[in-house]
């Protein structure tokens, strides 16, 4: 008996875990780099975020009487991203709350994987930043090179991050080498610029993130930093400080490149990246928090469908004009 089949008969189908696995691998590399400076604490923060997100997604699926979707790996990615955007001395319950908010408010009510409007990880961290700012933006001094205690972090020596110094209008004493090697106070995900760039290349090659959005984001941020430095510093110093500190690069690679919440149309992704960069730099200049890149992502997420339509219509309009001129 011959079986029916619909065209196209052979396809390039991939399990969604293929995408998630790539992101998890990159997050493992970023966390591992942070662990080299601070011991096991960053790893535990990321792990707690992951476990909370996965458990809550299971719970939501059970509540909604739906097939469990944890095997697609998206919940684990959300939890790991939230953990990686925390400071290494953040209490363990903070990423757990962030992950719970991300899954319970920003993801599952919208229909789960593939249907969420806002990036759940950005929403989770934004919630934590608003509720517990002092827990999120207090960073240990990496120059001491000591392993952090797992539980009681009250005795840890903290340092002011370069982003905080810039926000207050002062200058920083960090040089190029410490910026690139990640030897500056900041969240787990901000450590190791070279590791982040390697992750970006890897994710672009796997088609797990959008290089167009990332490139336009970085280009516009660079231009902005060169034209409008936040302190009395040279353009080159301003660029290096803006790009290599805080979560700018991390957000560009992992949150902005998230294909579900970004526009799907290539030209729209370029505009999306540029818009995110403008919002990020505006928030850095005038925002309340020193690390506000995830707020910019949440804001541009709401424009994604609009950007898709407007850019598509603009491209068609210009193609039509080109055809008319040709003929």
């Amino acid at each position: 008996m011959l079986k029916p089949s619909a065209a196209p008969h052979l396809r390039q189908t991939q399990h969604p875990f293929y995408q998630s696995a790539g992101v998890l691998l990159c997050l493992a590399a970023v966390t591992g780099f942070s662990c080299l400076c601070f011991g096991w604490r960053p790893f535990l923060l990321v792990l707690i975020g992951m476990i909370t997100a996965v458990l809550l997604e299971l719970l939501c699926c059970a509540f909604l009487v739906r097939r469990p979707t944890i095997l697609d790996g998206s919940a684990a990615v959300t939890g790991a991203l939230i953990g990686a955007m925390m400071s290494p001395i953040t209490p363990f319950w903070v990423p757990a709350i962030g992950a719970a908010f991300a899954i319970g408010v920003a993801k599952m009510p919208f229909g789960g994987f593939g249907r969420n409007v806002f990036n759940p990880a950005a929403a989770g961290v934004a919630f934590c930043a608003i509720c517990f700012p002092t827990r999120l933006f207090l960073y240990p001094d990496p120059s001491l090179n000591t392993s952090l205690p797992l539980w009681d972090t009250s005795s840890v020596i903290t340092a002011v991050s370069p982003t905080a110094q810039l926000s207050s209008g002062g200058t920083t004493s960090y040089n190029w080498i410490s910026l690139i090697s990640g030897d500056i106070p900041g969240p787990i995900g901000s450590a190791g610029i070279l590791v982040l760039l390697a992750c970006a290349v890897y994710l672009f090659m796997r088609h797990s993130a959008s290089p167009l959005a990332f490139t336009s984001y970085i280009v516009v941020c660079t231009l902005w930093a060169a034209l409008f430095p936040r302190a009395d510093i040279s353009a080159a110093t301003s660029i290096s400080l803006e790009l290599c500190t805080g979560l700018l690069l991390f957000v560009g690679v992992f949150l902005l490149g998230d294909p579900i919440t970004a526009p799907h149309y290539s030209p729209a992704r370029i505009v999306y990246g540029a818009l995110a960069a403008i919002l990020t730099m505006l928030l850095r200049h005038y925002g309340r928090f020193e690390c506000c890149d995830f707020f910019a992502v949440l804001l541009v997420n709401s424009f994604s469908p609009l950007l898709d339509r407007v850019c598509w219509q603009a491209v068609r309009y210009f193609s039509h004009i080109r055809e008319v001129l040709r003929s």
């Binding site: 011959l2 089949s5 065209a7 196209p8 052979l10 390039q12 991939q14 969604p16 294909p259 579900i260």
Partner: protein, 429 residues
């Protein structure tokens, strides 16, 4: 420079493309339609137990002589039946038991200068030549080009899909005859610019260039579906078409059939079919008389067990059949047989927003957005997304990592666009 749009397909033409074309000659019987689908009345000219010669017309069609079909074999009419054909729909057919054919007498080769446009058109009609690209009779196409004009004529031998290599097989064996057939077509249509479009590897392209000359060969890009089968603009002089010019497309096998009809007085009775897929032990190109069944063709290619899937046409646009008792007719250039190891119903996941569907759409549409609006029943907003411009190439469904049948949903959207509101108005009325 224009952005490349389309899907990259993994070519699986080997070993069929490297092997010589096999000939399927000994058949117990063939099934041929009296006529191709037509609105006119079909009157059979052969009856039960009549003996028919190769090239005999099986019917006369009132007001539509080009829909009639010629017999592809010499044999005895042994029955009549109705079949459901994947390309032509319901066909009323005649079953002919094959008899040994007498060798045809040698016909003196006429000089090509003596063929007038009217003579060529008449020859295409009488030989019953049907273009394998779209199943349209060649004489109809010629009449259309004569009436409406044609700026450039292209023999489409691109075969961008993974398995089929029948056009290459014909070009490899009869490149000069195909080019001569193309010249005759151009003369009939009043076209001065023409070429053969191919998508071949370096060595094969060079070999073909040596035989027919560089000006007559055009290498297309290798993205599916190929839309540019001709240079546009003034850059390539007489080997390019102006932007506004109409391009006429014709198949390799139709060109060869025209050559044979003109120079050898042969009817269009055979076609070359690529038989491939993981259930075929020896994939190859086979020259088959029209009317041979898929069963006979697969048996000729040593397919002993019934495959799980048999597809008429190519991977991207072919039709899966439920029976092997279907005759090979013009328009059939590829037959694929798969087992469940290779082909299985794909799992479907939620859209991950990768945007590959938009990148692969050669019409520049947004398949993901059309699908989203269709599924959310925003029918009133569908018209602005131009779903009607979709030509059903299936590239979006192929590249979708989530296995979403985008093309079929876009097809539904085309049909549903505005329908809900029309229905509401009707019901209010």
């Amino acid at each position: 420079m224009a952005l490349k749009r389309g899907a990259r397909l993994l070519f699986q033409k080997e070993p069929a493309i490297s092997l010589p074309t096999a000939e399927l000659n000994t058949l117990p019987q063939v099934i041929l339609p009296y006529a191709f689908p037509t609105d006119a009345t079909v009157i059979p000219t052969v009856h039960l137990y009549d003996t028919v010669r190769k090239g005999t017309r099986l019917s006369t069609v009132e007001d539509d002589p080009i829909s009639a079909v010629c017999s592809s074999v010499t044999g005895l009419v042994s029955g009549e039946r109705e079949i459901q054909h994947p390309l032509y729909g319901t066909l009323s057919c005649v079953v002919i038991d094959c008899l040994p054919d007498n060798p045809t007498p040698e016909v003196p080769t006429p000089a090509s200068e003596q063929f007038t446009p009217e003579y060529i058109l008449q020859a295409a009609k009488e030989a019953g030549i049907v273009d394998e690209l779209d199943g349209v009779p060649l004489s109809l196409k010629l009449q259309d080009w004569q009436t409406n004009g044609c700026g450039f004529l292209v023999v489409d031998a691109v075969e961008i899909e993974p398995f089929s290599s029948s056009a290459w097989a014909v070009l490899h064996d009869y490149a000069e005859q195909v080019l001569e057939g193309l010249r005759m077509l151009a003369r009939c249509a009043g076209v001065t610019r023409y070429h053969i479009a191919v998508c071949l590897s370096g060595a094969r392209r060079r070999a073909l260039t040596l035989r027919i000359g560089k000006p007559f060969l055009y290498q297309t890009d290798s993205y599916y579906p190929v839309t540019d089968i001709v240079h546009r603009g003034k850059k390539f002089g007489t080997h390019s078409a102006p932007h506004s010019a109409t391009v006429g497309r014709v198949g390799v096998q139709a060109c060869l059939a025209l050559y044979r009809a003109l120079f050898l007085s042969e009817p269009h009775s055979r076609c070359v079919v690529t038989v491939a897929g993981d259930a075929v032990p020896q994939p190859q190109n086979v020259s088959v008389p029209f009317g041979a069944t898929l069963q006979q063709l697969l048996e000729f290619c040593d397919v002993s067990d019934l495959p799980d899937y048999v597809i008429v046409g190519e991977q991207m646009t072919g039709t899966a059949v439920s029976s092997l008792d279907i005759p090979v007719l013009p328009g059939m250039t590829c037959l694929l047989a798969f087992s469940t190891k290779t082909l299985r119903t794909p799992a479907t996941y939620s859209c991950v927003g990768c945007g590959r569907c938009a990148q692969s759409c050669h019409a520049g549409l947004l398949p993901f957005e059309i699908v989203r609006r269709h599924q959310n029943m925003h029918y009133e907003r569908l018209s602005s997304l131009r779903a009607d411009e979709c030509d059903g190439c299936n590239a979006c469904s192929f590249v979708c990592p989530s296995g979403i049948p985008l093309a079929s949903i876009v097809e539904e959207a085309k049909a549903a666009s505005g329908a809900v509101f029309l229905d509401m108005e009707d019901s209010h009325a």
